[in-house]
Amino acid sequence: MTDNAGRSKTPPKRRVVQDQQGIEYQLRDKLGEGGQGVVCTTDRDNVLIKLFTGRDAEQRRHWVNRLNWVLNQELDGLRIARPRALIERPYPGYVMELMDGLESLQASLDSSRAALQDGTGLSGYLATGGLRRRLALLRELATTLAGLHARGLAYGDLSPANVFVSKSIEHCQVWLIDCDNLCATERLGHGHLYTPDYGAPEVVRGERGVNSLTDAWSFAVLAFEMLTHGHPLKGEAVLDAEPEEEAHALRGELPWVHHPDDTSNQACEGLPLELVATPRLQALFEDCFNAGRDNPLARPSLAAWADALEAAWALMLDCTAADCRSSFYWNEARQCPFCDQAAADGLLLAHAWYSDASPEEPHLDTGDRLALALERPVALHLAPVGMRGYSEAPLVCEVRLDKAGLHLTPKGEGELTLVRIEDGKTFPITQPQTLSAKADRRRGAAAGLLLAHPDEPRLRPFWRFTW
């Protein structure tokens, strides 16, 4: 920095880059900056530029080669801000489009955690959408990664900085940026790129490259962090110890914080896991961080995560206490575990398949459950909740619970039948109907909704509930 005495007198240079077609982009702000790259906003709406700023010629060549390969991959239909054009000068890079109104997940995690740390408790957790939205965002992310894996690709360097989510908590858009790390197979000898805290132990130890199994680890860490604000490997043995202990933990040398037998590194910060994760999600975390710590093949797939997150999301109730408003998992008492107040109302629907073949016991319980919270309409499809295909399956009806009662609205070609279980009596619902919430009408009787649709005549979901 000694060769530029006259520098301050030269006019400021234009921060312009050009793509292959000669289109110019003026750089505005830096959105993020990593080891060898920088992501910038431009003078064009929703257009971002990622530039490779590393100096090493070999690495630069390698990066450009990889980018050309990524450009030829089929990424349509996935929520990934894919490269649209290449930048050649003055740095190699690419143009990507990202819709308006998104922010990095890191920003959202930061504000939520800062609230806990600075003494304003769960206010940050709620301001970023609470448990309900976290489950929805994670489901979206898992679905995108599962789609990528289904195409034989892995994302590579998953971290909150690479995940962009809707700023507004009314929306649950999730987009991945920085797709220049995409790879088809395990990447050996390419620097084992990862983000600290999110790298799989074998990647941190430098033994293996990234692949779909390391994506599965990174996703689970991100999910654990989003839900609990803790880290799965940072417990009592790590958080108060010297930084070296943390390095050991991240290399996979300590038990995870909810290890069933070894409590030497047990959880000591954040929200209790059982408050924010269903037993099914807890089991996925256990598989990933216990057996999956040393054996990548033991880690649950992203498809398994997406299914379990969808199922968990379907169990949300809303706390009605004015100073709480948390979302929480259905429980019989409908009691909010964040403030202990009971929710005003809610209804649990239990999923079964209806089978003519055994008239004595026609309902085959699947174990899937769906909680109806007040004033939150739910669409019932032919496929069960807890499956990623749920929302794409044919729609049959909409159900909505409010203080007046349970409103049933048939949709499209769906056929809806209300069944009284005690005598098997059926009532076809062909137009919107309401089951009254008045005490003499809501008496605790067993009932069910039988769904049918001409597109899939063999699928007959039966939703059992008490009214």
């Binding site: 000694t2 005495a5 301050s8 240079k13 003055p90 806990l116 930084p243 206490a321 964040f338």
Partner: protein
């Protein structure tokens, strides 16, 4: 019923201690103004950094006339404003080293869970007090020995031998600044690499000051942007 609270640990502190020469000679050629600007920018940048993996704490020790703790070690996001430096007096660097040593070794201010500190020494002259004892004591102290130490020599009159001995970053033995703009750029580079370290959640890797981003690369039209 009140909403329950759940504790989270503060992120590990990453202490950054600036030893700034505020002696009389810093008052010319815009040097002290550049230093003030640099510190303001640094505080602003550090304060905006994510605290998920590390929390930058900043402390400033000045030596101009007398050595003083200008800013006690404070979490960067809590620093409201930083008092401007005023140049004047001699260069009591030894006394500043003594303050720095006490600070670095203070187990309450810097707990054992903290990341290794970063010490930044900036000077344009020679010490005017009895500095060698305190200097060696600092270098020999357990934590300062492990710390990342960076030095910037401003102008031609700086004690380069001493600054070189202070610096322990093998990739960047000693930085030079010939004018006010270069002081600002040096601090930007330090800010960027400290921020990167706080994000990477560790000090297992050397603090890398990216020369290119500090230097003005004539063939790089985006140099401004990256600096």
């Amino acid at each position: 019923m009140p909403i329950k609270d759940f504790a989270v640990k503060a992120a590990r502190p990453l202490p950054v201690i600036i030893l700034a020469d505020t002696s009389g000679s810093m008052g010319v050629d815009g040097k002290i103004e550049a230093l003030n600007q640099s510190l303001r920018d640094m505080v602003k940048s550090f304060g905006a950094e994510s605290r998920l993996r590390g929390e930058i704490h900043l402390g400033v020790i000045t030596f101009g006339g007398k050595a003083a703790a200008h800013l006690p070690l404070t979490p960067a996001h809590q620093i409201q404003e930083i008092q401007e430096f005023v140049a004047g007096g001699g260069t009591p660097m030894g006394a500043a080293m003594e303050i720095a040593r006490e600070l670095v070794e203070d187990r309450e201010l810097i707990p054992s869970r903290a990341y290794r500190p970063v010490l930044v020494l900036v000077s344009d002259g020679h010490p005017t007090d009895d500095w060698e004892g305190p200097f060696q004591a600092l270098l020999a102290s357990e934590r300062a020995a492990k710390a990342t130490r960076i030095a910037l020599a401003i102008g031609n009159d700086a004690d380069e031998a001493m600054l070189t001995e202070f610096a322990n970053d093998l990739e960047a033995p000693l930085f030079h600044a010939d004018n006010a703009a270069e002081i600002v750029r040096f601090f930007r580079a330090v800010t960027m690499s400290v921020a990167a370290r706080s994000q990477s959640g560790g000090d297992t890797q050397p603090l890398k000051l990216d020369y290119r981003r500090v230097a003005d690369d004539e063939d790089d039209p985006l140099a401004d942007f990256f600096n």
